[in-house]
């Protein structure tokens, strides 16, 4: 029957290990059973009947009436099953009337009961406790029956036994006789009672019923909520069922003992010593105990007597309400309701949300799911024993076996990679110790949960959300509107009338055919809101925020925050209707959303603050969560400048469009929040993810409004990447974060020669640079002197650059000398050796004079070369590929520039190139031609052969490039051979494939690609000679996927030419 047993068993504890061996309660319970049996007999014995069926029906009828009456009394009548079943059990049912108050839990709640019965029971209890032999009990009961001529309780038990017993055949014979004796009496009683009942009016019946059942009904009422949705409640053991004893035995011998007893039972079967035992079992989880199911303790003792490894002295009765626990096999997720989600406390997944898949029986380890954080495929493995470089942990991403093709094994349902198991959906499954997990106060965010449902927030798998979304009673407040979400009454809404433990009484709004209040467990409820309600978030990450509800989808509510006007998704359980406008508590964190922060090996922007965690978007575009201590510092990047796709400078605050490298048609517009080297963190207006931040390479950005943060010099002259290194003060370099470098200065550690002053000619090592002053440790005198950093010459360097810089631009243009000067100088060495004078003469003079004489420029900064090649506007074109800039010192441009002899002639005819260029632009062919122009039209003549060789690399004509003839623009041709020495090409004229040799470079013009999918070759600039495919061509720009690198790059049309693969 119902009552305590199941209430306790079910929702609360399943920790049978603790509970099963509870002795104290078992004793009292036992005595209660016996005691109440007797009192029940007194009352109800007359109900006995020889016709069991008939009687049952009868009783059922009564129960029915009683139930109806109860219901109208405000109790809810949900346990009809129990009631019916109970009534059918007649005598036993009566037994049950008393136990609840004794069963521990119910006791406190039930004072009136106790008052009445206490004395009686106490007496009997004492008595009972003295003799612990059930046999004695039974006998006494029988005696009672004789005296009172009442209930056939035991008889009924026997009846049951009859059905249940498998192997015990014999019974106590006197029962038969007794029953007969009682039968006639019972008949009479029943008849008279029926007559009475007919005469009684309904009210009286009600009274009677109430008197008889009311109290027990009341007791049960408290647990109704549970009862209601546990249909097995009828199957629960009651006091009338065989009892369960637990006996200690030697650990590890449980199984043996069980078999020993079993064989004993079989041995004695059919003999007078037969053992009336129903079952024997032991639990794996409970070492050192076996369970025996029997009716009487004597039987059990008999069965165990003399067996090895059994400690008979430790035989105890399992309280009826704990019996179920003993047999309950833990369901897969018994505990999961409570710790469905967790966070790892240590290891690679520290702080990550995980999901419990399964708990092992011992409850110490759990099978868990994570969103894996794997090194991308192809990451070199750290050799065993090798020092592992501590790196930023990889981003969480579902496992895709295709990414690790060769290293993945398939094992049943799982993929195995690197010893880890991944399920089909790509989650990592791991067995972890409970102690390494944080299971309390998890507060997973919807984003995290959505990761576990396939990564889409649009349709979070509610089965995943369930564990989080289900409410507890404390979520509710009296008066709140709620909706019942499961059970028979699902869909009914009402307001909370009262809350008691986990039970919530609800006043249904539309109470047709419903009692005025319905009691239900909190987990079956959901708060009900309406669109437009003003609510406050009472827990979780958004705690304190208030807003208006916009969307309600199951238990996920989207509200528009009052403060930020941003939509916030929360679970309805964490909301409460409010009239206030919430103020989010001031943050004490040193970092704020939008800060550029430096992590150990990464640079990122803070996108979100969640308690102690920061959501960050790293420069590689990965999004992760870190704690404050993982952030080393924050920077601003006010002074960092980089170049966009068109070579325009962009810096923090610039408005840009971000091109998606994969989908050229997608542009996102936003404002540059930070620039770090070649990476721009852009705050996009219409990107909801990552707090609106996007990471993009600067060359994928296009400045939409030209912002000129620098002085005019830089914006004109220095608009090219050069702006950083050349013109500006060293800090404002295209080198983002250059400022943060503090003392870092490329010249530090270099051996320099001091060019002026008292130490002129001394050689030393630069130790430190502060405000343009270098502290140089002299080789000779072993002392440190301070000199202007511009007066320190690197080997092979002359004073020229610095000096001219100073004179030309004023101020400390150190950037030039120290940064870029360095490399080109190396490059420049070669020509310098040969032509030192020209350098001085050509370079310096104009510089001194104009400061921006291109010649001088060319001479010094090989960038000139770039300018020369794409003459559109030397500066613009040069900066077209900002990538170079980053690699400043390595970039081939510099080298090329250094080597190219062009500067020589360039310095001679400084203005020619620009003029020429502007007139011919944007015709690529001529533009290209003008590459040569710096050396004058007679380039070939003026340049010695060896130099020409080096020039060849810069000649654009390449084999299989499609060209047209300038002399005959309609004639298309493909270059089949190039004769750089004579500056002629051999063409295969289309469409006839007619060959024409000796066509001058000057007579051909590259054909620009005109449609997507055209094959192209880069003819000038970085990567010249590489081929690719046009993804899109718009106006002057072409987006090209490079064949080899698969990189997406943007070129102006004059940099690329149609290419016809062989």
């Amino acid at each position: 029957m119902s009552d305590n047993g199941e209430h306790d068993v079910f929702p609360d504890d399943d920790d049978d290990q603790v509970r099963a061996p509870a002795v104290a309660s078992s004793l009292s319970h036992e005595s209660a059973t016996a005691a109440t049996a007797s009192s029940a007999d007194r009352r109800n014995g007359n109900e006995d009947n020889d016709d069991q069926d008939n009687e049952e029906n009868e009783d059922d009828g009564y129960a029915e009436i009683a139930r109806d009456l109860q219901r109208s009394n405000g109790e809810d009548g949900n346990d009809n099953d129990n009631e019916g079943g109970g009534a059918a059990d007649d005598g036993d049912e009566e037994d049950n009337e008393e136990p609840p108050p004794r069963g521990g839990r119910g006791r406190n709640d039930d004072d009136e009961d106790e008052d009445e019965e206490d004395d009686d029971e106490e007496e009997e209890e004492d008595y009972e406790e003295d003799d612990d032999m059930p046999r004695a009990k039974k006998r006494r009961r029988k005696v009672n029956r004789f005296i009172e001529a009442e209930a056939m309780v035991d008889d009924d038990e026997e009846e049951e036994e009859d059905e249940e017993e498998g192997f015990v055949e014999d019974r106590e014979e006197d029962f038969e006789e007794l029953q007969k004796a009682a039968d006639t009496r019972a008949h009479r009683e029943l008849d008279s009672r029926r007559a009475d009942a007919d005469e009684m009016d309904a009210e009286k019946i009600a009274e009677t019923m109430k008197a008889r059942y009311g109290r027990s009904e009341f007791n049960r009422g408290q647990y109704r909520g549970d009862v209601e949705h546990i249909p097995q409640s009828m199957l629960m053991p009651s006091v009338s069922d065989p009892k369960l004893w637990i006996c200690s035995c030697r650990e590890g011998k449980e199984r043996e003992a069980v078999f020993a007893i079993m064989s004993r039972v079989f041995d004695r079967e059919g003999t007078p010593n037969a053992l009336d035992i129903y079952s024997i079992f032991h639990r794996e989880s409970l070492k050192g105990y076996i369970y025996i199911e029997a009716r009487q303790q004597g039987v059990v003792q008999n069965a165990l007597d003399g067996l090895n490894n059994i400690y008979l002295s430790k035989l105890r009765l399992v309280p009826v309400n704990e019996m179920v626990d003993c047999l309950t096999i833990k369901a897969k997720d018994t505990n999961l309701d409570k710790i469905h989600w967790f966070r790892a406390k240590k290891g690679k997944y520290v702080g990550d949300l995980g999901q419990v898949v399964q708990i092992t029986e011992n409850g110490e380890t759990m099978l868990c799911r994570f969103v894996p954080r794997l090194e991308p495929a192809g990451t070199p493995k750290v050799p065993f024993g090798g020092k592992r470089k501590k790196t930023e942990r990889p981003p969480a991403k579902l496992f895709n076996p295709m990414d690790y093709k060769n290293e993945v094994k398939k094992e049943g349902e799982y993929y195995v990679y690197n010893g880890d198991y991944f399920d089909r959906e790509g989650y990592l499954e791991k067995t972890l110790k409970l102690s390494s997990l944080d299971v309390t106060n998890i507060h997973p965010t919807l984003e995290e949960i959505s990761q576990f449902s396939g990564g889409s927030t649009d349709k979070p798998d509610l089965s995943h959300v369930e564990g989080v979304g289900s409410a507890v009673a404390s979520d509710f407040q009296i008066g709140e509107n709620v909706e019942i979400i499961s059970g028979a009454m699902a869909g009914i809404s009402g307001s909370v009338a009262s809350i008691h433990n986990d039970l919530v009484a609800i006043k249904p709004h539309f109470a047709k055919d419903l009692p005025p209040t319905v009691t239900i467990t909190a987990r079956e409820l959901r708060k009900q809101f309406k669109q437009g309600d003003h609510v406050q978030v009472v827990k979780g990450n958004y705690k304190g925020e208030t807003g208006l509800i916009v969307i309600i989808k199951d238990n996920i509510v989207t509200l528009v925050s009052d403060g930020t006007s941003k939509p916030v998704e929360v679970l309805s359980t964490s909301l409460r209707t409010t009239a206030d406008v919430g103020v989010v508590a001031p943050r004490t964190s040193p970092y704020d959303v939008g800060d550029l922060v430096f992590l150990q090996n990464d640079v990122a922007v803070v996108t979100k603050i969640e308690g102690e965690y920061f959501g960050i978007l790293s420069q590689f575009g990965s999004h992760s969560k870190v704690k404050a201590r993982e952030i080393s510092n924050k920077r601003d990047s006010k002074n960092a400048i980089a170049n966009d796709a068109h070579g325009n400078p962009i810096s923090a605050g610039s408005a840009v469009d971000v091109l998606d490298p994969d989908r050229h048609d997608v542009r996102k517009s936003g404002t540059v929040a930070h620039i770090f080297r070649q990476v721009a963190f852009v705050k996009a207006k219409d990107t909801p993810e990552h707090g609106g931040f996007i990471v993009a390479k600067t060359q994928n950005c296009v400045a939409t409004g030209i912002k000129r943060p620098m002085n005019s010099f830089q914006s004109t002259f220095g608009s090219a990447p050069r702006g950083g290194g050349f013109g500006g003060p060293p800090r404002s370099g295209g080198f983002g974060g250059g400022r943060g470098r503090g003392n870092f200065h490329p010249i530090i550690g270099r051996t320099v020669t001091i060019a002026v002053g008292a130490f002129k000619g001394y050689v030393g090592i630069v130790k430190e640079v502060n405000d343009g002053l270098a502290r140089v440790e002299l080789h000779t005198a072993s002392r440190v002197v301070t000199v202007d950093v511009n007066k320190c010459l690197l080997p092979g360097q002359t004073l020229a650059p610095s000096a001219s810089n100073n004179s030309g631009f004023g101020g400390s243009s150190f950037g030039y000398g120290d940064r870029y000067g360095q490399t080109p100088m190396h490059g420049a060495k070669t020509p310098m050796h040969g032509g030192r004078t020209p350098m001085h003469a050509g370079g310096r003079t104009p510089f001194g004079a104009g400061g921006r004489t291109p010649g001088a420029d060319g001479g010094r900064t090989p960038a000139w070369d770039v300018g020369g090649r794409t003459p559109a506007s030397a500066w613009d074109a040069g900066s077209k590929t900002p990538g170079h800039w980053d690699a400043s010192s390595k970039t081939p441009h510099w080298d090329a520039g250094g080597k190219t002899p062009a500067w020589d002639s360039g310095s001679r005819t400084p203005y020619v190139p620009l003029d020429t260029v502007s007139s011919v632009y944007p015709d690529p062919a001529t533009a290209i031609t003008s590459t040569i122009v710096p050396s004058g039209g007679n380039y070939a003549d003026s340049i010695a052969a060896p130099l020409a060789a080096s020039t060849i690399t810069q000649e654009w004509p390449a084999i299989r490039v499609m060209v047209t003839l300038i002399s005959d623009p309609n004639q298309e041709a493909i270059i089949t051979a190039v004769q750089p020495a004579t500056r002629t090409v051999t063409l295969s004229l289309l469409p006839a494939n007619e060959t024409r040799a000796g066509v001058s470079f000057d007579d051909i013009k590259a054909v620009s690609p005109d449609a997507a999918h055209d094959k192209v070759m880069v003819i000038i600039g970085e990567g010249a000679g590489q081929t690719g495919q046009v993804i899109s061509a718009e106006d002057d720009d072409g987006v090209v996927r490079m064949d080899v690198t698969k990189e997406i790059r943007i070129f102006t049309m004059n940099m690329i030419a149609k290419y016809v693969p062989a």
Binding site: Q531, I551, V560, D562, V666, K668, D686
Partner: protein, 177 residues
Amino acid sequence: MFFLKHLHRTIRLPPQYFGPQLRTAVLRKLYEEVEGRIDGQYGYIISVLNIVEVGSGVLQPMTGLAEFNVVYQALVMKVFKNMVVDVVVTVVNTLGFWADLGPLTMFVAAALLPSYYKFDPAASPAAYVNEEDNGHEQRIEKGMAVRARIIGIRTDATEIFAVGTIKEDYLGPQPGV
């Protein structure tokens, strides 16, 4: 919805105004204090149209201020839940759009737009576009007049904020306006 309401207010006037221009001073103070403000009960007080009565001033013993009970007639705007209003779109983004309804701001979440409105991020200005309509497409972009229904209202001390929907018949852009 607009209402003409008789309202009253107690104006406290410092002694410096006690003199020939007293009534003007009282009224000026009234205008300052009530126009453009929000009254929790009546909504926006847009304008004081008419002064019905200026009570006689009563000096406050402790402060020396004079209190005047002023009864005035005001044009007020109060919005109600479920009210259908015409609004002007001010901001459009993926979340939805914001619109002005006179002095109050309304937000219409993307989810509260009919499903056939798709956000077009490429458009400039950003817009929600109804593509199903062959021929002329319907757009919701900045400056458009839109008819919406209010589903929620939040009243602060200085502003009224409403959440609206256009996911119903007859709601949405009003091209003619």
